[in-house]
């Protein structure tokens, strides 16, 4: 009887990369007789929770697709094993990417997908507002002014701001943190959320609300694209996937504008394959995960799926040539910062969201909000 390796894959099995993955899996099975890989596709909404739940119930999957942000929490609860990368392997990743999976000096997952963020702008609206359609804003002030012009001069609103009670609000805000030289947790693991940079960032976030679509608190990122597609907002910040989804408008995409106290930056999010503890087939699972994510296989997968390339492989140039809109996203990789790595990710998210919403709704001053949040965050580091 073959031993089963239970692998949880988020999303559905319609992606163009799936056949590649299946091929690799059957190759692996051929090489490791006595083991059978069973891939389960779970929709995004419940995918990570499901793996966590199974693990905490003592019945973990062998390997699962997890947001890297959860790795520290899983590790702290002793639910996953480190992936023990060789120096050579580590070197294939850009440092910020490696940063998203590293906690307490160890790597806890193998990056499988990742994204950086950039600024989309509507050239027609820029033109209509009397702005140069080919000159996206480079700094926060420029961005604000452009947004204000659009709001004042056109039917549309200047900017798409997300502030709903979803993970994505924190993600949006992290972009500002990272373009303003801020951090949530520093290299020593201390909470430094209450830095002046962050106060500035949060203050600016609130300021953008005045030129954004009404009621940002009702919006997450997914709701912004329709607005952008409809020409109802002049700009919004999002990942590379919007490139193929935004239609009907004349758009461009540019690196995120810099904050007054910082420079280039972006939030860099990775999803990883994590190997769970207690499945009884940890070693095999790890070997499978490594096979799937080695540079060649990973690259092929990304090309098929249209994902952002994780490693700087020769093919990247081709991609870029084919579609120059990738540039803003690829260029941002080295400047990227990770999602804060904590032991209670939802707690972190709620805390930061609350600070953001407080400022957006005009209920608290940025300085105070940041202070309160920093205090609460102490609990999660």
């Amino acid at each position: 009887e073959d031993k089963v390796i239970h692998m949880i894959n988020c999303g559905d099995n319609t992606g163009a990369g799936i056949p590649l993955q299946e091929q690799l899996i059957s190759d692996w099975e051929a090489a490791n007789s006595g083991y059978k890989v069973q891939v389960e596709f779970v929709p995004w909404g419940q995918c990570q929770e499901k793996s966590t739940t199974l693990a905490s119930a003592g019945n973990p999957p062998a390997v699962a697709y997890m947001g890297s942000r959860t790795l520290k929490q899983l590790a702290a609860n002793d639910l996953i094993i480190p992936v023990d990368m060789t120096e050579e392997e580590k070197a294939t990743y850009a440092p910020p990417i490696l940063g998203t999976i590293t906690a307490n000096g160890k790597q806890w997952g193998l990056p499988r997908a990742f994204s950086t963020k950039a600024l989309y702008w509507n050239k027609d609206l820029f033109k209509e507002a009397g702005l140069d359609p080919e000159a996206p804003p480079k700094t926060w002030d420029e961005m604000y002014n452009a947004a204000k012009m659009i709001k004042d001069k056109t039917d549309a609103d200047g900017f798409g701001l997300a502030a709903a009670s979803f993970d994505n609000t924190m993600h949006q805000f992290m972009n500002y943190v990272y373009t303003n030289g801020g951090e949530v947790i520093n290299a020593d693991g201390e909470i430094v959320f209450n830095s002046p940079n962050n106060v500035e960032a949060l203050d600016f976030y609130g300021k953008m609300a005045s030129v954004s679509q009404p009621g940002p608190v009702a919006y997450d990122r997914a709701k912004l694209r329709p607005l952008f597609s409809e020409g109802k907002i002049g700009m919004f910040i999002s990942g590379p996937w919007e490139r193929v989804r935004v239609k009907d408008v004349n758009w461009g995409v540019a690196p995120l504008p810099h904050g007054p106290s910082g420079g280039a930056g972006t939030l860099l999010i990775t999803d990883s394959l994590a190997v769970f503890k207690g499945s009884g087939v940890e070693d095999q699972a790890l070997s499978l995960a490594k096979l799937l994510t080695n540079p060649e296989n990973q690259m092929a997968f990304e090309i098929a799926e249209g994902y952002t390339p994780l490693r700087d492989m020769p093919q990247v140039a081709e991609i870029l040539q084919e579609d120059p809109t990738w540039k803003a996203f690829l260029d941002a990789i080295p400047t990227g910062g990770p999602e804060p790595f904590v032991t209670d990710y939802v707690g972190l998210q709620d805390t930061i969201n609350e600070a953001v919403q407080g400022v957006v709704l005009g209920e608290v001053e940025a300085a105070e909000a940041v202070e309160i949040a920093a205090e609460q965050l102490e609990e999660f580091k």
Partner: protein, 280 residues
């Protein structure tokens, strides 16, 4: 004569009804309208009620996006049905006991059963979760059926008991005099006679089990094939963008069969409310 209205009373009543029914039905109208629009047409500004690009496209394309829609609907029905059946198996004997027998602690026991109603749903999610986890019941139909059953029982007992109380005792006494045992009497006499009441309890239990599947399923199940309709549809929200027109189309198609059934059963529902709950 008593109910002869003046013209202005008619106007008032119909206006009131119009407002009331608009409140009740507007969301369905909205859902229908949304389901008819192409996705791009949905996000069009300004708001228009009728647009010329309306079509039933979403009703076809949704099967691709939610290939398991049938499955979700069947799951919903299946779960609600099993909950109802299990519920009835518990409710009927218990209601009979409370309606007909004197035994110590009867009233307090009934009170306890009814009080349990308060802790329905979300309150017990955590311990139940732990319990299911402990016995490896997570991600099974059972995980969704068991709590559903528990929370239809108290109301069911309450409703059926007040129905049974009004069945003349003499029916049982006659059977007893004729030598029938208690189980025989329950099965051959009481249950058939109480059938209208049981129908009402069945309907109410089914409604409850059908309408309130979200939280248990969301929490105790993550196997997509087992998901009931609401959770199945909730997955629309996990995507990069919500395909609203298909979500609405799928929602409407999903609830259509139940709505259809209830239209036919509505008189039992109203009658049942009168029968069970009003007095007391």
């Amino acid at each position: 004569m008593l109910h002869k209205y003046r013209w202005y009373e008619y106007v008032l009543i119909y206006c009131g009804l119009a407002v009331f029914l608009t409140f009740v039905l507007a969301p369905f109208v909205e859902a229908f309208v949304v389901s008819l629009r192409p996705l791009s047409g949905l996000f069009s500004i300004p708001y228009r009620f009728i647009t010329d690009d309306m079509s039933f496209e979403a009703y076809f394309s949704m099967w691709k996006n939610v290939p398991l829609l049938w499955r979700y609907m069947l799951n919903s029905f299946f779960i609600a049905t099993v909950v109802t059946i299990l519920g009835l198996l518990c409710i009927i004997p218990a209601a009979y006991a409370f309606a007909r027998f004197e035994f110590p602690a009867r009233n307090s026991l009934l009170g306890v059963f009814i009080a349990v109603n308060m802790f329905s749903g979300a309150v017990l999610i955590i311990p139940l979760f732990k319990l299911m986890q402990q016995y490896g019941l997570l991600n099974t139909y059972f995980a969704m059926i068991a709590p559903g059953t528990a929370f239809v029982i108290p109301t069911g007992i309450w409703l059926l008991r007040s129905y049974l109380v009004r069945i003349p005792k003499e029916l049982e006494e006659a059977a007893w005099v004729d030598g029938a045992g208690k189980i025989y009497t329950l099965v051959r006499v009481i249950i058939p006679v109480a059938l209208p009441g049981i129908v009402v309890v069945t309907i109410t239990a089914f409604i409850t089990a059908y309408a309130q599947q979200f939280i248990y399923a969301l929490t105790f199940n993550s196997v997509n094939e087992l998901n009931p309709l609401p959770v199945g549809l909730f997955q629309f929200f996990g995507r990069q963008s919500v395909v609203w027109n298909e979500l609405m189309a799928a929602s409407l198609v999903g609830i259509l069969p139940v709505l259809f059934v209830y239209v036919f059963l509505q008189r039992y529902i109203v009658a049942g409310l009168t029968a069970g709950a009003v007095k007391e």
